[in-house]
Symmetry: C2
Subunit: 272 residues, 2 copies
Amino acid sequence: MTTQQLTEQIQLKKSFLSVGLDVDLNKIPQHLLETKDQIFEFNKAIIDATHDLCVSYKPNVAFYEAYGIKGWQALQKTINYINENYPEMFTIADAKRGDIGNTSSMYAKAFFEDMDFDSVTVAPYMGKDSVEPFLAFENKHTILLALTSNEGAFDFQTLKIDGKEVYKQVLETSKTWKNSENLMYVVGATKAEYLTDIRKIVPDSFLLIPGVGAQGGSLSDVCKYGMNANVGLLIASSRSIIYASNQKDFAEKAREEALKMQQEMASILDNQ
Amino acid sequence: MTTQQLTEQIQLKKSFLSVGLDVDLNKIPQHLLETKDQIFEFNKAIIDATHDLCVSYKPNVAFYEAYGIKGWQALQKTINYINENYPEMFTIADAKRGDIGNTSSMYAKAFFEDMDFDSVTVAPYMGKDSVEPFLAFENKHTILLALTSNEGAFDFQTLKIDGKEVYKQVLETSKTWKNSENLMYVVGATKAEYLTDIRKIVPDSFLLIPGVGAQGGSLSDVCKYGMNANVGLLIASSRSIIYASNQKDFAEKAREEALKMQQEMASILDNQ
């Protein structure tokens, strides 16, 4: 999927919502636990109930990995279901991978080819040769961690190198890498005021923004400081949508929450 | 496994070698491709041929993930085989994970509980709350990326924050985290001269050292600058051992290569 196609979907659906499929068996409705493919059945219901309100799904791979082989089967089944039924969706494997060159190639192959995700999140600590193998895939996107939404972001990311924060150094350096046009960036919504500076460095890139809602970030602030002419934003939301109810009405309630966000987004897009 | 038990194994075997089980189906002997469990059969042969010469096995998870569900089954079978037959081994899931708190907990559970690895490699970029969930497991070890052995290490890790390199900042800050006694660190052998400074910050910690051999690092330099009273080193070596031959004699040749390294290590330990 190209970024232009993604922008078209955003304009069509008046939504730049990415629903996080972070399935925790302790949190899903009781009645689903009796089904064979618990994780997949949960995802399928959420996807069917929300697909017209969002442009992207983002399974966090950790949640699947924690269930071992059963989890990987559920992840594979989920991405297949999305690709077959809703091919217009921008899919994100939230994996935060990063390793030396030939090993990063293995990860890239796993997510881009075998599972056919549109994008994968990648950590920057190991530098250029750990990220470029991901960038080599055409029409696939590498979403680099820049400024994350957690407390620990202040441990290293915001420290200054010659007066410039580490995350800004990451943004600037990454622009020099081969096929850097395939880069997007993770920027936490809890630090919306940082977006002005970030947009000076990466004016055109898509930003994946976690932390709106549950973690306290404001959608309007994020849009005010972060939106560009192509929108350029994907707002990741997981728990507040997928766990809106843990009863039989979970999919319906998830739709209600997604609708609230979509309507807020439509209003922002209309007033642009 | 405790670090004291690891040191005892090192003294007993006169080896601080960690064999990297990075299985690439393009590189393993042709005759194994005809077996059902190709990856596991390769690992089993390597393990049986080298177990008395090393103290640790380190599968890089990317190589397994790249083969999808088949790969995860092979990883599970491999760690089970080691734990059942060679419980004295220090096992490392080289996964380079790192995510926000509750997600890191999922990864920690997957590697420490479900698969029963002794340790896992973790990336530091997201800071304290992304690493502490791993540190909470008793007698399990979190091997934090500090200074890696690849070219990209110079992109961010060696840049200076207030006159101090990022990787040193990582070492120092990590010492303040809860259960930091469960930390070990990845330090690339290609930068052996950095070990003097590193030992000033983490004198007692175990260091996992990739990059000896294939990537050009020198074992004697690493030991000269990095060894402490408890040895405190694990030398990771993969390709030069496991792909010493791609014929029917692959396990025998792997043993020969492992023996060369073990003998070099024994000589260093005897002359300590």
